[in-house]
């Protein structure tokens, strides 16, 4: 037998164990290093070193790298779409309100946190629509939804579709677990139908069928159609996420509550949902991320969200050949938003696990 070699000092030993433990490991590690080298070097060159930062037009981009001048020139469009410039403060104001509300509500020691949350959820959504849309006797200039666009539209779609999808999903999940056959059957049909078809067809379907099945003269806004289509699909997926939480709940919880004489709705509200939703939160966050990613599909019915604006910007004759810059910028925003959300959900999950000592 070979004598065990003495361990190297400190971090060198870690490095050896994790990268150069066996001959195969050494080869693999160097191959990986080579791949990283070959990918990251040109990438960094293009993104930063050789990139063009200053200027106002395409002619200012003289270096070989990315032309970030293009993003700077079009930045406002990426954020607001065709929203009229003098009215953009309304978008900013709403964004500020939403961020403030979110920050206040995530502060754990906020007095009357529960009531505040309910108030915010009741007041903010209609206020948001009034503020962005204007008209309807608010004294604000009317801004049609077809002028909305960019990141603002992506967030609006996500927020309102989520606002419908989450409660609807919870109801559907409860319906699927119901002991009443009729309600169970209806929930299963609804969930499986929307889960079985591609979202793109649902957005098509919503934009074509909603005007058809409404009474003549009753016009459903184009954007609202997309929101409803998205919301239905995500609600179905959300329902399955919540069902996971409901099924993970020990039977004894409900039985104990029944023994105490509580009725169905009270058991659901006070015993079942608080625990089930906590268990289902990671899965629900995943569905929410999926919703955020799928808002891009409204491009198919000519609504220009962030990706749509990036796509439309490519057609500008003054900025020919900026495909990569536009995609990298839009892609980075999506990536940071989704990655941030999933990290938040993971850290929360960990905290809860330690809190429950599992």
């Amino acid at each position: 037998m070979r004598a065990a070699r003495p361990p190297l000092p400190g971090w060198l030993e870690t490095l050896r164990l994790r990268l150069f433990a066996t001959p195969v490991d050494i080869v693999v590690s160097f191959l990986c290093l080579y791949v990283v080298w070959r990918i990251s070097l040109p990438l960094v060159d293009w993104l930063l070193v050789e990139a063009n930062w200053r200027g106002t037009s395409r002619e200012d981009c003289t270096n070989a790298g990315a032309c970030w001048v293009f993003i700077r020139a079009r930045f406002a469009q990426f954020m607001y779409g065709q929203y009229p410039v003098p009215e953009r403060w309304r978008v900013d104001l709403l964004g500020l309100l939403a961020v403030l509300a979110a920050m206040a509500l995530s502060w754990r020691r906020l007095p009357r946190r529960r009531e505040a949350a309910i108030t915010a959820l009741v007041v903010l959504p209609p206020l948001g629509i009034l503020l962005l849309h204007g008209g309807w006797g608010t004294g604000l200039a009317l801004v049609e939804t077809r002028e909305w666009g960019g990141l603002m539209l992506t967030l609006v779609l996500t927020f309102y579709a989520g606002l419908i999808a989450i409660p609807l999903g919870i109801l559907l999940a409860l319906g699927r677990q119901s002991r009443l056959p009729m309600i169970r059957f209806a929930s299963i049909v609804f969930i499986e139908f929307w889960r079985g078809v591609p979202i793109i067809t649902v957005i098509f379907l919503a934009s074509l069928l909603l005007p058809l099945i409404m009474p003549t003269g009753f016009n459903v806004d184009r954007l609202a159609r997309a929101v409803i289509g998205l919301a239905f699909v995500i609600a179905a997926y959300m329902a399955e996420a919540v069902r996971g939480g409901l099924q993970a709940l020990p039977e004894g919880q409900v039985e104990a509550a029944q023994a105490l004489g509580l009725g169905y709705w009270r058991i659901t509200r006070l015993i079942v949902l608080p625990q089930a939703l906590r268990i289902a939160l990671p899965a629900m966050t995943n569905e929410f991320i999926a919703l955020f990613k799928n808002t891009t599909l409204v491009l198919i019915v000519s609504i220009f969200d962030l990706l749509g604006i990036a796509q439309a910007a490519l057609a500008d004759p003054a900025w020919v050949g900026m495909n990569m810059e536009a995609y990298v910028f839009a892609g980075a925003i999506y990536w940071f938003a989704c990655f941030g959300l999933s990290q938040w959900s993971r850290s929360r999950e960990k905290r809860l696990q330690t809190a429950y000592g599992r």
Partner: protein
């Protein structure tokens, strides 16, 4: 109101209420729809399927022509959907398993690279990748004259990927039959070997024989078939490549986006499945003196597969549904040619939507029926 306290009465009441509500909503929508359709002068029915379509489909392997019926157009769309899905499923599985196993490597660099890949593709919308490949990568490719040349038989340029076609396919047909027979022989052999080992304890090199039967011999058969026929190799004539078969850029872009995106999700499934095998199982297998290869083959894989297969099937299903993203770049799959072109041409919104959704639901039902069958067969019996 005392009878309301009876649970049975309340149950019935709730259900009646729900049913009446649902029926009322449906009746309301249907009546509006028929009113609106009468006003717009749209006749309902499925006769339009037998009308001439007059719609060009630039990429089809069904031999479809614009003078064919709309039904033929629909069939072309279905074939194109299945074509891109099948190609992407194969590549996504290979890449996904590789990346998933890489993530479990004890080599820090390798597992980090895999993690970066997974986090990269999973946190960006699929539509982004589709557009990126189509408008970002493929439109930046050179003109046909300056094509990338792969060994003088395949050519990549902004008009797509030109690949050679065999002039005579009888050899390939024979090879396909031979491969099916070989696979059948392998299944019979594996059963026999398993039964014999259970009876006598004698081992049989099933995997080695299987590698020859299902790996080497089929390749040999395909090579032989390829050598037996002449090939139609694409060549540059004028401004474009003629001959062979052209995979249009729409196909290539959708295929690349679907396979790389789904691979990220499959990698996570594979990782989760393998991690679900308890360490004790592996330790016990090692303690019995099994070689590392056998530990993986006899202990890890049989326990990981039942965990991996169901979510992977639903990833396949997602991939098939996601192939509809091709509509965004005009790849002629079901949604683009039928819900798009045919709907615009005929105006039969309700019928076309119903047929399209019906197709996807049928595919979904078929896949989940398979999944249930598989689950029932491979459920791990816990004692």
């Amino acid at each position: 109101m005392k009878f309301l306290r009876d649970r049975k009465v309340r149950d019935v009441l709730w259900q009646v209420l729900a049913t009446v509500g649902l029926v009322a909503v449906v009746v309301f929508f249907v009546r509006n729809a028929s009113d609106n359709m009468v006003k717009a002068g749209i006749a309902s029915g499925f006769q339009f399927l037998w009308r001439d379509s007059g719609i060009e489909v630039p990429f089809n392997i069904t031999g479809y022509k614009p003078s064919d019926t709309i039904l033929a157009l629909l069939w072309t769309g279905i074939v194109n959907t299945l074509l891109v899905s099948a190609a992407a499923v194969v590549v996504a599985t290979i890449v996904g398993f590789t990346v998933g196993l890489m993530r479990l490597s004890h080599n820090w660099l390798l597992s980090t690279l895999a993690a970066v890949y997974v986090e990269f593709v999973r946190n960006i919308p699929l539509l982004f990748f589709v557009l990126f490949w189509y408008f970002g990568v493929l439109s930046a490719l050179p003109t046909p004259k300056e094509s990338y040349d792969f060994l003088g038989i395949a050519f990549l340029n902004r008009r797509g990927l030109s690949i050679p076609l065999p002039n005579d396919v009888t050899g390939f047909r024979l090879a396909l039959i031979a491969i099916l027979i070989l696979i059948g022989a392998q299944i019979v052999l594996a059963r026999w070997a398993k039964a014999r080992q259970a009876r006598t304890g004698r081992d049989f090199p099933t995997w080695l024989v299987g590698f020859v039967l299902c790996g080497l011999l089929p390749v040999a058969a395909l090579v032989a078939a390829g050598a037996a026929t002449s090939w139609d190799v694409p060549s540059l004539r004028g401004f474009n490549y003629r001959g062979g078969f052209v995979l249009v850029p729409e196909f290539v872009a959708l295929f690349m986006a679907l396979s790389t995106y789904t691979a990220g999700f499959i990698a996570e499934v594979v990782r989760g499945g393998i991690q679900s095998v308890r360490q004790g199982q592996i330790d016990a297998a090692r303690a019995l003196g099994l070689t590392p290869g056998r530990v993986v083959r006899l202990v890890v894989i049989p326990q990981a597969m039942p965990v991996i297969i169901p979510p992977i099937t639903s990833q396949y299903l997602n991939l098939i549904k996601n192939s509809s993203f091709g509509a965004a770049i005009a790849y002629p799959e079901i949604v683009a040619v039928f819900m798009g072109s045919a709907l615009v041409a005929t105006g039969q919104a309700i019928e076309i939507i119903a047929i399209t959704l019906g197709i996807y639901l049928t595919i979904g039902l078929a896949v989940s029926a398979f999944m249930n069958w598989y689950n029932a067969r491979h459920r791990v019996v816990s004692r």
